[in-house]
């Protein structure tokens, strides 16, 4: 079986990429602050800070890891992340 334009065909490995998008340091996060406030009022004393972010899961039918990295970096820079206020990191894993 072959690959066609990145489409996942039966029996092929699937690469799953988990992308975490976070607000840059210094960018105010009112949602995080509100959640921290809620945790405080519920009695969780040890919470020093809460930051919110976004989590995306992208599956690709590309096997070559370097190629996956390149695609993901490209997607992040082009559309998924706003570099003015956001940072990102990602993990690549194989799923069957």
């Amino acid at each position: 079986m072959g690959k066609k334009g990145g489409r996942i065909l039966r029996g092929e490995k699937v690469i799953r990429v988990k992308i975490y998008i976070n607000l840059k340091e210094g960018v105010a996060d009112p949602q995080g602050a509100t959640i921290k406030h809620a945790l405080d009022s519920l009695g969780y004393k040890g919470v020093s800070r809460v930051r919110t972010g976004k989590y995306l899961q992208i599956e690709l039918g590309i096997e070559d890891r370097e190629k996956v990295k390149k695609e993901i970096e490209d997607m992040c820079r082009k559309i998924l992340v706003n570099p003015v206020i956001e940072n990102y990191e990602y993990e690549i894993e194989e799923v069957k």
Binding site: V27, P30, T34, I79
Partner: protein, 234 residues
């Protein structure tokens, strides 16, 4: 002169813009579907408010890749007038036609009410009928209007007079209480360095008829007509 109002899937102030511009200026106004790829013959392009693509991912992040946006960028580079209102402003930021980004409002609420803005720069194509320091009464309606930009870019905006509107109180004073969404430096609207692209969170199209409580929005649309010098010319 001729205005064009771009319609994205999810735009909802497009008809208001069309109506307000027509009433305020008497000039020709067209709707332009976002899949069109031709802006020839237009003097001013309006990116209206709304929730283009459901605000998915980030406000304006997907609309910015609509086919029309390549043309809008070209149009802006050639000096054409572009005004982005609310979601239109968010799209201009995502497209990089204006610097900065929008965060959620500081109070995490969708705010829909009249506010006041002070005209900081009356020497733009969009504000030439205003006085410096003039206070406009104009409504906002957004969840993500909390403007942010890094400090270097902010200094550049100030130096180049690119801050066009700032939130203020009725007397024109800039105070924390008068800043509805937490925007950096109370910024409500900015233009690009050349001055031909304006982004603003308040809605001039919602206050361009006396029956609606304010006509201050008219000043913006009429300023554009004045700047083109093509009043009544089709």
């Amino acid at each position: 002169m001729k205005f064009g109002v771009v319609v994205f899937p999810g735009s909802n102030c497009d008809y208001d813009c069309w109506w307000a511009i027509k009433q305020a200026t008497g000039e020709k106004v067209d709707f332009i579907w976002h899949k069109k790829k031709d802006l020839s013959g237009y003097d001013c392009i309006v990116l209206p408010g709304g929730f283009s693509y459901g605000d998915y991912l980030r406000t304006g992040a997907i609309a910015r890749f609509s086919p029309i946006m390549e043309e809008v960028e070209k149009f802006a580079r050639q000096g054409g007038f572009v005004i982005g209102i609310c979601n239109g402003f968010q799209i201009l930021l995502e497209a990089g036609l204006l610097p900065g980004a929008m965060r959620k409002n500081k109070n995490l609420l969708f705010i829909c009410r009249y506010i006041y803005v002070r005209v900081e720069n009356p020497d733009t194509p969009f504000t030439n009928l205003c006085r410096k320091g003039q206070v406009l009464r104009i409504p906002i309606a957004h969840f993500e209007g909390n403007y942010y930009v890094d400090s270097n870019t902010l200094s550049r905006l100030k130096k180049n007079n690119q801050i066009v509107f700032r939130y203020c109180n009725r007397k024109g004073e800039i105070t924390d209480e008068a800043n509805p969404n937490g925007s950096l430096d109370a910024i409500a609207g900015i233009c690009n360095e050349k001055g031909n692209v304006l982004g603003m969170m308040p809605h001039p199209e919602r206050c361009a008829e006396s029956i609606l409580g304010s006509e201050d929005g008219k000043l913006i649309f009429k300023s554009i007509v004045k700047k083109t010098g093509k009043q009544g010319k089709r």
